[in-house]
């Protein structure tokens, strides 16, 4: 390393996985201030390449293997893309079955994130001993019966997915034109019961969030703090009334000041979205194409935008179901602004979305048409090209396939939720690092803040979350550029610190 010997470097490696492993490299200048922080995704599998040559009707099963935590999202986006490729419209019942199973999935995934991953920071407390800052701490605080309620709700929602999709992990129900099987009357009865219980569960969860978080001014101040704020554009799917919809609709983008910047059909996404490549990460960074890539910076002149629960709510005018809409209105009137730029408000938005998913699940479970055996339209047109978009738990998910006349994929393009957020996550990590690191003055606060900067967006670390408790392990090494370690700090899963 020719020029710099005094420049120091902090490596946080590894953190727990972000669809692979995550890594952060932080470089300090001569004065010991953070000069640059790199949020890196060191893994790639290359689905766009090996989709080529496969039949498009197999894409729902093949692309679900992108993520085993949200396989239903990829399955559904690919299924909708296959509808478009074959120029076929699903039957009414087929569409309702899809939307029902999709909302069961969203409720389950969000609830698990709230209780197992994001929730502990608030329910137990960001400054609580790390050993308690986990799902067991949540249970200790709210009671064992609540823990049982969470586990049982997860299981029952997953049973809806496995009943209809064969498996909850990598389901098989989606085919162009509809779904592979009908719903029986007996199954519908079960779904209705689960849906009713899910609505109650969601109300309970919202109530818990209000009691534990919103009534505590420390938490509210944390949510509102500058370290966790970025003023970017927001994007999400909306229905005809500009209400949030997870399964279908148009993509709406609002600017940092809350004005509608764009509203477009999913198949027009290439006019609005583009991806930027950096040599230091395997993930691409999505941005708004008309504005352009202006680097890792926020504000109306930067193309950086954000997706996931808070972005969806920011990009919409309300929720389509009554209880969720009341909660939505309450969030914005409490915070007094729209859009909300505070990343940690994602936790609030997520709970509101659980309520919407449960209410929508109930509406669909009660629909008499759900048991209609006519669940699929057989395609007759020559296949060509199609786009499928859904809102995954972590944000907008786009699948786009071009096929030959036999329906074999010639070309594929995939923009996954985390890619939409990659630039803003990188900025948040850098902001947290800049706010906290000075010289070699590194303590547990750094680790916690970096961790929370991730967690607010990044439930997909929550691949982890559907799992045993433990705080994110971190190793921070301060090095000179030549690699000599100056200082090392390690926090283990039990929260203990080692220097």
């Amino acid at each position: 390393m020719p020029e710099v010997t005094e420049r120091r470097r902090i490596t946080i490696d590894p953190i727990t996985r972000l669809e692979g492993h995550g890594k952060i490299d932080i470089f300090l200048n001569d004065a010991g201030q953070v000069e640059r922080a790199y949020f890196q995704v060191p893994e790639l599998r290359g689905f766009e390449k090996f989709a080529e040559g496969r039949p498009v009707e197999d894409m729902p099963q093949i692309t679900s293997r992108i993520c085993g935590v949200c396989p239903m999202a990829h399955h559904m986006a690919a299924t909708k893309a296959a509808d478009a490729v074959y120029h076929v419209t699903p039957t009414s019942a087929g569409r309702k079955v899809r939307e029902l199973v999709y909302n069961a999935f969203m409720a389950e995934d969000h609830a698990l994130h709230f209780y197992f991953l994001g929730g502990p920071d608030f329910v137990v407390g960001p400054n609580a001993p790390a050993a308690e800052r986990n799902v067991l701490g949540v249970i200790a605080k709210v009671g064992v019966e609540v823990g049982q309620k969470v586990i049982s709700m997860r299981r029952r929602l997953r049973e809806i997915m496995s009943t209809l999709g064969g498996k909850a992990i990598h389901p098989v129900l989606g085919l162009p034109g509809g779904v592979s099987r009908r719903v029986t009357a007996e199954e519908q009865k079960t779904f209705q019961q689960v849906a009713s219980d899910a609505v109650e569960f969601a109300r309970f969860t919202l109530d818990l969030f209000e009691k534990v978080v919103l009534k505590n001014s420390d938490y509210v101040n944390l949510i509102l703090s500058d370290a966790f704020t970025h003023k970017t554009y927001y994007m999400g799917l909306v229905d005809a009334n500009n209400h949030v919809n997870f399964y279908d609709g148009q993509l709406r983008v609002v600017s940092p000041d809350g004005q509608q910047y764009a509203k477009f059909k999913p198949e027009q996404y290439l006019d609005y979205l583009a991806e930027h490549v950096e040599p230091w990460s395997y993930i691409k960074f999505a941005y708004l194409k008309p504005i352009g890539w202006k680097g890792f910076t926020d504000g109306p002149d930067s193309g950086v935008y954000c997706v996931a629960p808070l972005a969806r709510l920011n990009a919409a005018a309300g929720m389509a179901t009554p209880l969720a809409n009341a909660a939505y209105q309450q969030m914005y009137s409490t915070l007094g602004v729209k859009p909300v730029h505070h990343t940690l408000a994602n936790h609030w938005a997520r709970v509101i979305e659980i309520l919407y998913a449960a209410e929508r699940l109930k509406q669909l479970a009660d629909d008499p048409e759900l048991t209609d055996p006519n669940v699929r339209t057989l395609p007759t047109a020559v296949p060509s090209e199609g786009v499928g978009v859904v809102e995954a738990p972590r944000g907008t998910l786009i699948h786009h396939f071009w096929t030959d006349e036999r329906g074999l994929v010639r070309k594929a393009n995939l923009i996954v939720a985390t890619q939409n957020n990659a630039a803003r996550i990188a900025m948040s990590v850098e902001k947290a690092a800049k706010g906290l690191i000075s010289g070699s003055n590194i303590d547990e606060g750094v680790l916690n803040m970096v961790e929370m900067a991730f967690r607010a967006y990044d439930p997909c670390h929550g691949c982890a979350t559907h799992s045993l408790p433990g705080s994110m392990p971190l190793i921070v090494t301060v090095r000179r550029q030549d690699g000599a370690a100056l200082r090392m700090l390690r926090r283990d899963s039990d929260g203990s610190l080692h220097r």
């Binding site: 599998r45 390449k49 197999d58 993520c67 592979s180 691409k284 995939l414 390690r490």
Partner: protein
Amino acid sequence: MSKPKVAFYWCASCGGCEEAVVDLNEKILDVAAAVDIVLWPVALDFKRKDVEAMPDGSIAAAFINGAIRNTEQEEMAHLLRRKAQLVIAFGACSQLGGIPGLANLSDRAGIFRTVYQETASTVNPDGVIPLTACQDNGRTVTLPGFYNTVRTLEQVIAVDYSVPGCPPTPELLADAVQALLSGNLPPKGTVLAPDHALCEDCRRKDSRPEKLTVKEWKRPHQVLADPEKCFLAQGLLCMGPATRSGCGSRCEHGNMPCTGCFGPTSRVRDFGGKALSGFASIVDSNEEDEIARILEFIPDPVGTLYRYSLPASPLRRKKMEVTTHA
């Protein structure tokens, strides 16, 4: 007596194998009580340093899911092999290469070109690609190296047992852990699942005619599948006759044919070849042209027959015109 130490690790995979572990539900607590989990990055901690500091052979069993796609995964596989008495390839990617193994139809340059340059939404006029070490204003930022070829775990380190499936069922995992705890282990190399074809356990097997013949293969979107009848008898490609049982016929319950994620039984070396010969044998024709026409309805033979097993198959990968290392 201290509890046996167990490690869970993931390589090139989707996280579905981890979810399958979580789907043990209440049983996970039994597992956690019976063993000491020393590594599980998804849930507990990623203490590579701690694993490195452990004496060789001190971990009773390491469950590794995912294929080997990059340098970091290979390093971790070697480390865990040194530290663990038993290594279990957990899930289709680790055992056979899995769906990420379909990348062996291309190579690193092809994948990078598609992902970072040709994809429709990518804007990359300077042709930037991720680098194992890149200089940015005097700062060196590093990434693991991406191999040309996806490998199974067994192609990188010695593997003692495999648990099949994409993902494996929680039941198979529970059985595997139970076998480890009791010490009642089958011979090394055993796949820890039933050793007969899925067809034998299929709910629909009675609807399969004694002499099964097919005049025309159909793709799943072209037909409304009868929810009770053998898929093959409906002209739908089903990998059930060639595929190992143990999955609980989950896809069949979803009214979709088997795609072969549990891999072959112990008596089959070339899984895709075995399946193909089965499909060919039921084609109802002696006319060469007609047979060719019928088989054309399998439009993607490699992706269909080797969907989860290309790296483990005799084909292993597509031969690329310019061969570079690894």
